[in-house]
Amino acid sequence: MDQNVENHERLEKLEGIGCSRKRREDPRFIQGKGNYVDDIKLPGMLFAVMVRSPYAHAKIKSIDTTKAKAHPGVHAVLTADDLKPLKLHWMPTLAGDVQAVLADGYVSFQNQEVAFVVADDRYVAADAAELVEVDYEELPVVVDPFKALLPDAPVIRPDLDGKNVGAHGARKHHNHIFNWQIGDKDKTDRAFSDAEVTVAQDMHYPRVHPCPLETCGSVASYDAIRGDLTVWITSQAPHVVRTVVGLLSSIPESKIRIISPDIGGGFGNKVGVYPGYVCAIVASIVLGRPVKWIESRSENLTTTAFARDYWMSGELAADKSGKIKALRVNVTADHGAFDACADPTKWPAGMFHVCTGSYDIPNAHVSVDGVYTNKFPGGVSYRCSFRVTEAVYLVERMIDVLAQKLNIDKAEIRKRNFIKYEQFPYLTPLGLEFDSGNYMPALEKVLEAVDYNALRAEQAQKRADPTCPTLMGIGITTFTEIVGAGPSKSCDILGIGMFDSCEIRVHPDGSAIARMGTISQGQGHQTTYAQIIASESGIAASQIAVEEGDTSTAPYGLGTYGSRSTPVAGAAVARASRKIREKARKIAAHLLEVSPDDLEFDLDQFKVKGDPAKAKTMKEIAWAAYNNVPDGMEMGLEAVDYYDPPNFTFPFGAYLCVVDVHKKTGETKVRRFYALDDCGTRINPMIIEGQIHGGLTEGFAVAMGQELPYDEQGNVLGGTLMDYFLPTSMETPHWETDFTVTPSPHHPIGAKGVAESPHVGSIPCFSNAMVDAFAHLGTTHFNMPYNSYRVWQHAKSLGL
């Protein structure tokens, strides 16, 4: 047989890196056999419902649970008083603050957890929840972070009274959480005073919610005889949950088993530990029966973890040619009533300091203040790494503001400021080392694909024609993301370094099982991890079972968020596979009676160099591993790897968006969206494309409609799917995707992570397009979301 054909067939069989392998997860999902948390049913299981505060800020004078407890079918009604003896009425947050599990004398946001009703089924639990009588005394409310910092603002956290130092340093006001600064302030200020041109722009990144289609929930089951606690939980980080539960309950981690079953989307919503989970655990311990708690859609949208809510002021200093000299940023971050941000411990604003973007900016300074308000806690990363969406939004908007001021084309100004290919590795003024990037070819490829000059010509024509009913806007972003948290020297959660792990066991028949510390929420890990193992170890992907999400069997890992699965766990997978391959090499050498150095690895076998007829396949080697290994070698074929990445990875992309905005109605049509992503080595192109479509659609949702506004009384106004925008197939634009490949030099297979770039990169692209539509009328910015009403208001304010 022709060598090429044969190789092709073997590659095809292997289904390794680069293949559009069909997903192993699909058969169960397309047949309705997924196993999501609400599908779990245990003998004797009870159902729980949370009683929540209707007020945003109130003192609780009394709680009367008598009627609820007397209701037939009710087994328990928990309040803070029941949790106090266990010291579980408060719990630590991931950000070094504490959060009330059940309200302890006062509530500080609407829908705060007040009591937990456990009953035979969900109907009885809901009936009984209505019977819990809570006597509130309303207190003044503050939902605006700037007003929260006024001297006479209501005290949102009386429990912090007198604490002038928080987890991240000094607090300057009773509603202040932290101030975090990075960069050289003096040098930056000097660059501004010396600059030929400066621009400044305020912008609000509204409070939004990741809103996965499945809400959060858990089933807790405590076995009083064995002393074992098992919890099924919608968690993106099951091991971290186990550690937190261990800390809270003083049950040793060896007796706690956390299982993340199939998860119906996460997008950052399912990283934290929520009061409902803790209450379900307590109720199960107290009652000796399994307890299920599943939140409703409104509870999900109004209590478990918002994202963003950043008030940002950006400034750029530049010379007249548009070359940027300095960036200065001040942020007021609204964290709600408890600081429950999911950020690495040392960085209370996450990786916001990636905000110098793809540009060679010599000086920068950032200052972020976190503030308490009477809003629900969170600050999670909605399909992005910690605060990266905010950072990228800021710089991608600012560079457009500068372009408009200098009357330079928006593609051209980016080219003038790009970090050049030769400059990598590039140290940013805010202390990050960008490992790789190649921005110019990416942008040029996009401009050519859409015929940028023709688009600008069409725009000029339309602007010149007063009878044209629409405004045309062209948005460009050339963003750099930072993902793969992260090196344990700079990143930890609760003191645990942000490594990740993989364990592989090869069975005697040559098939294998691999277990990881991450957890898929739709990313297709079962499919892609097997591809990495296939390419690295020569075991066909179809022969590899991938398991994750069960803390009793999986090695410890920090979980899946911030696009860290491929950069961190994917690296552990590759390295564990290589350990397998190296042991296999020794066994093959022993079997073939040659030295290991005389062998070369060829897809799925070791061949003797110069005598390729002499070879051993991985299948043969696996069998030998259990009966015929070299002297002194342990039997078996297994490997474990804990990977602590040396650096982050820096995926990038160039996006272009064309919108047509109706002058009289504000209605906006996304005519075209072209997304070029560079995620380094591409493991499964089909899955990458799917992740990009999904990320772009979520970006479209955020830019065009999502927000969780509050009224002055602290009522949340976006708490149902009636009010909170999730795009349907009708509104969602058609996406065009493209790619370049710039592998990460420090990652074992050069991969960088992809799922979040399209979200991070597309939101400013929509904003840039919307602003560009009005740019000739003097608009430099207007805030998201661009629903028709808001756009119409803006058009009207310009006299259109």
């Binding site: 069909k22 047949q31 997924g34 609400d38 049913k41 079918g73 009885v124 998860i263 999904g694 799917l721």
Partner: protein
């Protein structure tokens, strides 16, 4: 607790009698009493379509119908699609065209698409997008769902079909 009634209907071809409170929603009866956990709950307010089932030849959001309303009805859920181990063309299409990620919307999507193809065996992209607008997906951005439905439609019309994601497209030996 109110008095319970017995409701009888056909579910994926099998005769079912189930005892429910008059207020019980069909989605809860299916999921909690009949072990039909394919249809999911994404909102309980008729917005998301994750709970979609087919009742007497119409797509219905089962969080918005009482079980007692189903007396004598014929119900089809995702569990009734594969026959004798053979996947329905829609199920095949969703896999081949990567029309799902987390899978939470998928049973509702497929059930809704089934109704569409019953009424219109050769829908345009626009028609598909219009018909599917009551089913939300947070993961896929719909583009591959459209392709999955087109794949199934072609297959059901007896045409030859291939995936738009060939295994080795980016690999050369």
């Amino acid at each position: 607790m109110s008095k319970k009634t017995i409701v009888s209907f056909k579910l994926n071809g099998a005769a079912i009698d189930v005892m429910v409170e008059p207020r019980e929603l069909l989605i809860h009866t299916l999921r909690e009493k009949l072990s039909i956990t394919g249809p999911h709950i994404g909102c309980e307010t008729s917005h998301c379509g994750a709970c979609t089932v087919d009742i007497d030849g119409a797509s219905v959001k089962s969080c918005t119908v009482l079980t007692v309303q189903c007396e004598g009805a014929e119900l089809l859920t995702i569990e009734g699609f594969a026959k004798g181990g053979v996947l329905h063309p829609l199920q095949e299409g969703f896999t081949q065209e990567h029309g799902l990620q987390c899978g939470f919307c998928t049973p509702g999507m497929i059930t809704r698409a089934y109704r569409l193809l019953q009424e219109n065996p050769n829908p345009t992209e626009e028609e598909i997008r219009f018909w599917m607008a009551g089913n939300l997906c947070r993961c896929t951005g719909y583009q591959n769902i459209v392709k999955a439905i087109q794949y199934a439609a072609a297959k059901m019309r007896g045409e030859t079909v291939t995936t738009s994601h060939p295994l080795m497209a980016e690999i050369s030996a």
